[in-house]
Symmetry: C2
Subunit: 268 residues, 2 copies
C-alpha cells in the first residue's frame, strides 16, 4: 500500500473514531444521531396477587454495568422503527408472539446515554402470561417495584404502565394480555393486575359483553380441587385494538343514528 493511501486511511480512521463519540455533522451542518428502539414488554402474572410485569435483561458492560435494561437496538437503514422493534425482539429474545404493540414516545435528553448521544423511541408490547423468551440474563419485574434500571428505562416503564392502565378502560386492549380462551375469573385477575384495584367479576362481565368485546365460546372449564360450579370459557371477539368507549362526555348526542335505540319509554 502506498504511503499516500496509508496516510489517508489513518486520517479517516481518526475521523471515524471522533465521529463515534462526538456529535457528528455532515457538510450541510446537520447533526446526526444514533437512534434506537426500546421495548417495554408487559405481561400480567397471576400467581398470587396479580401484578403487571416488565421484561428486562441485565447489562454486562459499562455504562450501567449490572443494572437492568429494556431490550433495545438500532434501526437499520431500510426499515421502519416498527420493523426494527419486531426484528430485535425476534432475534435477541426469540419473541415473536407479541399480541399488540404501539409506539409510546421518544426520549432525547442529550446525556441519557453517557457514552454517546442516542435518541430512543419506546414501544409498548403486550404478551400473554406464559410467553417464553430465550436468553439467560432476562427477568420479569413488577412495574411498581423495579430494580435499579439503566439509562432512563425506569421512566419509560412507568410511562408504559400508565398508558396501558388508561387504555384498558376504554378499549379491548386486554385481548393482548389474555390467552385465547379464558374464564371470567382469569380475566378479572388481568384487570386487577393492570388497574391495581379490585374489579367486580359480575360488572366486568356485563361491561365487556355490552361493549361487544367478549363472547362465550360455549365450552366449560372444569372446577379446581375444592369444587365449585364449572366456569364458562370466553374469548375476545376481536384480536386487534379497538376503542370501544369513545369518550362518553360531550359526545355527539341527539342524532338517533349514533345511538341505535332511543326514546323507548317505560323503562324507569
Amino acid at each position: 500500500m502506498s504511503s499516500y493511501r496509508l496516510r489517508v486511511d489513518n486520517a479517516l480512521r481518526q475521523y471515524h473514531a471522533a465521529v463515534r463519540t462526538l456529535p457528528f455533522r455532515d457538510t450541510s451542518g446537520v447533526a446526526k444521531y444514533r437512534h434506537e428502539v426500546l421495548a417495554v414488554v408487559l405481561r400480567v402474572c397471576t400467581g398470587g396477587s396479580p401484578r403487571l410485569e416488565v421484561l428486562a435483561w441485565q447489562r454486562h458492560h459499562e455504562p450501567f454495568e449490572g443494572r437492568w435494561a429494556l431490550p433495545s437496538g438500532p434501526v437499520e437503514v431500510d426499515e421502519t422503527m416498527d420493523a426494527a422493534m419486531e426484528r430485535h425482539l425476534a432475534t435477541k429474545l426469540d419473541l415473536t408472539t407479541v399480541r399488540h404493540s404501539e409506539q409510546l414516545a421518544s426520549f432525547s435528553a442529550p446525556l441519557r446515554d453517557p457514552a454517546e448521544r442516542t435518541i430512543a423511541t419506546a414501544y409498548l408490547g403486550l404478551v400473554a402470561e406464559h410467553t417464553e423468551v430465550s436468553g439467560e440474563e432476562v427477568g420479569w419485574f413488577a412495574t411498581d417495584r423495579l430494580p435499579a434500571m439503566a439509562f432512563d428505562h425506569g421512566e419509560v416503564v412507568a410511562l408504559a404502565a400508565r398508558r396501558l392502565q388508561g387504555k384498558i378502560s376504554y378499549s379491548n386492549i386486554a385481548f393482548a394480555l389474555a390467552p385465547e380462551e379464558f374464564t371470567l375469573a382469569a380475566l378479572r385477575e388481568i384487570y386487577i393486575g393492570v388497574l391495581r384495584h379490585d374489579v367486580d367479576v359480575t360488572n366486568l362481565s356485563r361491561v365487556l359483553s355490552r361493549r361487544g368485546q367478549i363472547e362465550p365460546t360455549g365450552r366449560l372449564v372444569a372446577p379446581g380441587d375444592k369444587g365449585g360450579r364449572p366456569a364458562r370459557s370466553y374469548r375476545f371477539v376481536e384480536r386487534r385494538l379497538r376503542i370501544t368507549d369513545p369518550f362518553a362526555v360531550l359526545r355527539a348526542g341527539g342524532s338517533p343514528s349514533s345511538q341505535g335505540h332511543r326514546g323507548a319509554p317505560g323503562s324507569h
Copy 2:
C-alpha cells in the same frame, strides 16, 4: 498548505459528501440519521362556523416544491427535542405563545424524505385564536380540508387532530385554545370546532364547572349590536394540562374517599 494536508482535506470532503446522501455508519457499524422535530400548531378559528386550523408554510425548494409543510427543524447536539421545538417556532415564526405542547409520535418510514433518510418527531402545539406569526408564506388551513401537503405531513396533522379531539373530552386542554377570559358562547365555539358536532352551552357549562375546570371572573361582557343579556366572563382555573375525568369505567369505586359525598338519599 502542504500537499499532504490538501490531499487529506480532499479525502475528507469526499467522505463528507458521501455521508450526506448515503446512510452513514460509524466504525462500530451503527447507522446515524438526521432527526427533526415537526410542529402541528393548531388553533380554532371562529369566523363563521368554527373550525380547527393548522399552521403551514409553502415550500420553495425540492422536494415537494410548492406544497405546504409543517414547521420543522433539526435537533441541536445539546438540546432536547422539546427545546428544539420551542426554538424553531420562536426563531422562524416569532411564535413564543404556544399555550400547551406535547409530543405526538415519531415517523420513520425510510423514504418519507426522498432526499435523505430523516426521522421526525411530531409535536402538538396549541395557541389562542388571534396569535400572530411572522413569515410571508405561512397560512392556516382547516384540518379536515388540507391542501396538498409535503412529506407525510398530512398524516401527521390528522393524528394531531384526533389526539386533540380525544383529549378535549377528558381534560382541561381547551384552556390552551381559549383566550384568558371568555364567554361561554365563545368557549362553545371552540368545542364545536374541535369536536365537529354541536355542543349545548348549558351542559358544557355544567360539565366544566362540576369538574372544576372553569370559574366566573365576576366581570360581565357587553352584548353585541342586536342586544341580549350581557354574558358572564369566565376563566380556566388551571393553565396546565390536567386530566379531569380519569376514566369512569372500571374505576376504583367503593372507597368513600374517592367520591367525596356519598349516601345522601332523597335526590331521586
